[in-house]
Amino acid sequence: MKLTARDGGAVFVGPQPLLPADRVRHVGEAVAMVVADDVAAALDAAEQSTSNMRNYPGH
């Protein structure tokens, strides 16, 4: 089955970046990846990064 846009053209498929640079578009979207030698440290650091993020509501 082939899907088309309303005018018969190509369906719009937005870009899917590995990590977004400008804005987030859903709750739970990954904004950063922390890597550590042990899993506990990685989890702690990820939590710390969240609390230091400065996100503002979009329009």
């Binding site: 190509a10 640079a21 400008d22 950063a32 990820a46």
Partner: protein, 102 residues
Amino acid sequence: MPDDRADILPPLESGPIGRWVRRKEDQRLLTGNGRFSDDFTLPGQAYAVMVRSPHPHARIARIDSSVAMAMSSMLAVFTGADCAADGLGPVGHDPVRRPDTT
């Protein structure tokens, strides 16, 4: 498993969709012999955890990784800016078959 419903199944040449597919994993999983990446540790293994947005739609003003990086055992923190700096573009993601492809 034989296709005893061959009369209502799509033709073989159309691929596996709609047909029986013989499972290869059941013996291993049902007898407790599954091996999952969370069950073992390799020498030099590192662990990645994603930092996720608590907001449904928000501008990323700043991601401060300095506190995280100052913690022990940390190897790296990557953000979208790092991806852009490395020239990593969007990943291929096309859930629909385009009319001009097969």
